[in-house]
């Protein structure tokens, strides 16, 4: 459209486009019938016609001259005869006709685009008869027939397409047996759906959801039971906790004191040991000094005494710590029980929510089994 007004500044062009859009859209209401096919001389003309029909001609990639012709959003305007516009185009490898009004008659023209590697025919009115026209497409690697009326008989026409790698047949009249047959004849061909594999998956999902359901059910059972049993015990459990808390705190205090005492004693024993060692060394340096010898002996005895005392206190601390830990664990368990009782209703509601989700998950998985069977 913009080519018609090369002299306008871009902004007015937008306004012009808007006005044209309005014009075109009101025209569409009166003129529903699309323009008929007119022979074209050049590829450029063909592209212009395709554009007018709401289609698009694109490069498939930046570093590739091959073309894609895309009619999938062209609405109801495309007619079988319009597919003759493809003929003058060189190297069309991708054609999208998804959801267009084309029929088997249009596929006679498509059959002439022998460069095609990927063809989208999903949700069109084509049938087995149309597939016959595609047997000339020897380069075809991808064929999408999703949501068409093709049947087992139609697959016969695809046998000569030796390069075909992907085939989409969901929502068609093709039977499971025919897919399995084709798959075993062409192991390199990837076919969607893949009924045996789909069943296998559905079974795997169902098995898993059954396990999840069993786990959620037992967790919920426990939670619901506790929601009934625990709340009446809230006061008692709280009292248990309060009673357990005090001795635990006292024991901790005692253990702390014992730790301090044992640390002091260890320090003293350590000092005494060092003094004894010093005295020993001095005495060894002066072997004739009896005074030093005696001093060393006294220090050694003092050190041994300090060590004994420290060991005693260490042992006492160990016992105090053990007692404190035990009481602490007891208090902690009581605290948790008390908290659990307080939260029992909330936890039960959560468990029920999880269960409901998993129930849905399992029912859904079960439904899939029956669908794929």
């Amino acid at each position: 459209m913009s080519n018609n007004h090369p002299n306008l500044v871009p902004l007015s062009r937008i306004a012009a486009v808007m006005a044209l859009v309005l014009l075109v859209s009101s025209l569409e209401l009166t003129a529903k019938e699309p323009s008929p096919f007119k022979p074209v001389a050049t590829a450029e003309d063909a592209i212009t016609r395709i554009d007018e029909l709401g289609g698009a001609v694109r490069r498939i990639a930046a570093n590739n001259d091959s073309l894609e012709v895309d009619f999938q959003h062209s609405g109801s305007s495309l007619r079988d005869s319009h597919l003759q516009y493809l003929v003058p185009l060189k190297n069309v490898v991708l054609l999208r006709l998804k959801n267009t009004p084309i029929t088997d008659a249009g596929l006679t023209h498509v059959g002439k685009v022998v460069s095609l590697r990927r063809l989208h025919l999903e949700r069109t009115a084509i049938t087995d008869a149309g597939l016959k026209q595609l047997s000339s497409l020897k380069e075809l690697e991808y064929l999408n027939l999703y949501g068409t009326a093709v049947t087992d008989a139609g697959l016969e026409h695809l046998k000569g397409l030796s390069k075909l790698k992907r085939l989409f047949l969901s929502q068609t009249k093709v039977s499971e047996a025919a897919i399995v047959r084709l798959q075993s004849a062409r192991p390199d061909l990837q076919i969607d759906p893949d009924p045996p594999r789909d069943k296998e998956r559905a079974m795997a999902v169902w098995e898993r959801t059954k396990q999840l359901l069993a786990a959620a059910e037992s967790a919920n059972e426990v939670a619901q039971r506790e929601a009934v049993e625990l709340p009446p015990q809230i006061d008692a459990l709280k009292k248990d906790y309060e009673t357990a808390k005090q001795p635990a705190a006292e024991a901790k205090k005692q253990a702390d004191e014992a730790r301090k005492k044992s640390e002091d004693a260890n320090k003293r024993a350590n000092d005494a040991r060092k003094q004894a060692e010093d005295a020993q060394r001095q005495s060894q340096r002066n072997p004739n000094d009896d005074g030093l010898k005696q001093q060393a002996e006294e220090k050694k005895q003092a050190s041994e005494e300090a060590k004994r005392k420290a060991d005693e206190l260490n042992q006492f601390f160990d016992e105090a710590r053990k007692t404190a830990d035990e009481l602490q664990t007891k208090a902690e368990t009581a605290r948790r029980s008390s908290e659990k009782a307080n939260k029992a209703k909330e936890l039960a509601a959560d468990a029920l929510k999880v269960l409901e989700g998993v129930q849905k998950q399992e029912a859904d998985a079960r439904r899939r089994i029956t669908i794929t069977e």
Binding site: I14, M18, V21, A62, V205, T209, D350, A365
Partner: protein, 423 residues
Amino acid sequence: MKPGVTLPRRELLKLSAAGVLSGVTVPWFESLATAASVKRPRGKACILLWMDGGPSQQHTFDPKTGGEFKSIATSVPGIQIVEQLPQLSQCMEDMAILRSMKTEINDHYDAKYYLHTGFKRTSAFEHPAVGCLASSQIGLPEDDMPSFVTIDAGYDKVNGGRLYRSVPAYLGPQHAPLAVHDPYKGLENLQHTGDDLDARLELLARSEGRFAREYPTSAVGAKQAAFGRAIRLMQSPRAKAFNLDDEPANLRAAYGEHKFGQSCLLARRLVEAGVSFVEVFHRGWDDHEGAAKRISVRAPWMDAGMATLITDLKQRGMLDDTLVVWMGEFGRSPGDGGGHFCNAWSTVWAGGGIKTGQVVGKTSESGKNAGSTVVDRPISAPDYVATLCTVLGMNTHQEFLGPGNRPMPLTDPTANVVKELLA
């Protein structure tokens, strides 16, 4: 390829083969366009599943031995995820788990900004969000459908701080997202009232045209463009993509009767209708009281929504052209998942022609604090955004004119693309 055109960053081209079947295509350089009527490559579409608040990796896709959740085998031997996600465990060959995200920021809003833009937040100006980049680089221009749509999938509880809203910044307001506030309702305001719409629009066009001539600023033009697109959408038959009622009941049920699953379904419909980027966000993953209890409740609907999205896209032959990414702004602290944790967390990628059925990166396995560090292949926020843009077919070295005519690269030039993902 035209001779004489020097391509920047040749190594990028070597990374990926342009495949018709799938595969990550190389970015497009405008200078290569020969015939004006041949359009640029389409690139891939993206559905970003944003778990706002920061989901726990150890309660989802990076379980640890002795962790709160049990891990199970997946459909890919050697890869395990938590048992709460059985459907996703069977989609593993279509997913890649990036377990080594290491992204520096532990604050909600700054992390959301960082992971949405690839740049740290500054007070000077804003950077465009990745959805807006997709709109400007791979969106269908002049199309009935918007290029970027966000869908609010609701919340468990309001936590996780302020929600990040995607901003196009210097790309122009025409790349702002169209927001759907409730997947069940679609675009409530799309229905026009009265039968004189054409007359009213004509009047508006006339008066706005005059204003635009007198005040030719980019803001005026962009506003008109955005408005024009809204009108187009209003009158397009493709707008019915916003309505979930057309979907068969059993498929709707498979996606899960939860806003998240229905948002995933809506995202698929929108991508099918030509939208390039859809961000679905669900709030309430900031599980400070521990992740186990909350994720036990969320797992069933997350599993159903995300797994059905992947399988539905696959059945329709859309998965190669559509990248699905699951993530939040960071992960949770190892163990109970009580704290924010940006040091070692996971994102999950599916489809998009990337190499799936693999785990990229690794967090520490043993020790008292298993999972507290990345032991293999750290992935930064800029690495992540550059990889996302590359996979979608954008030229990450494209430059834009930022505020003050400052040239702004599409992604941080120091970013390293996660090559393990490129098929």
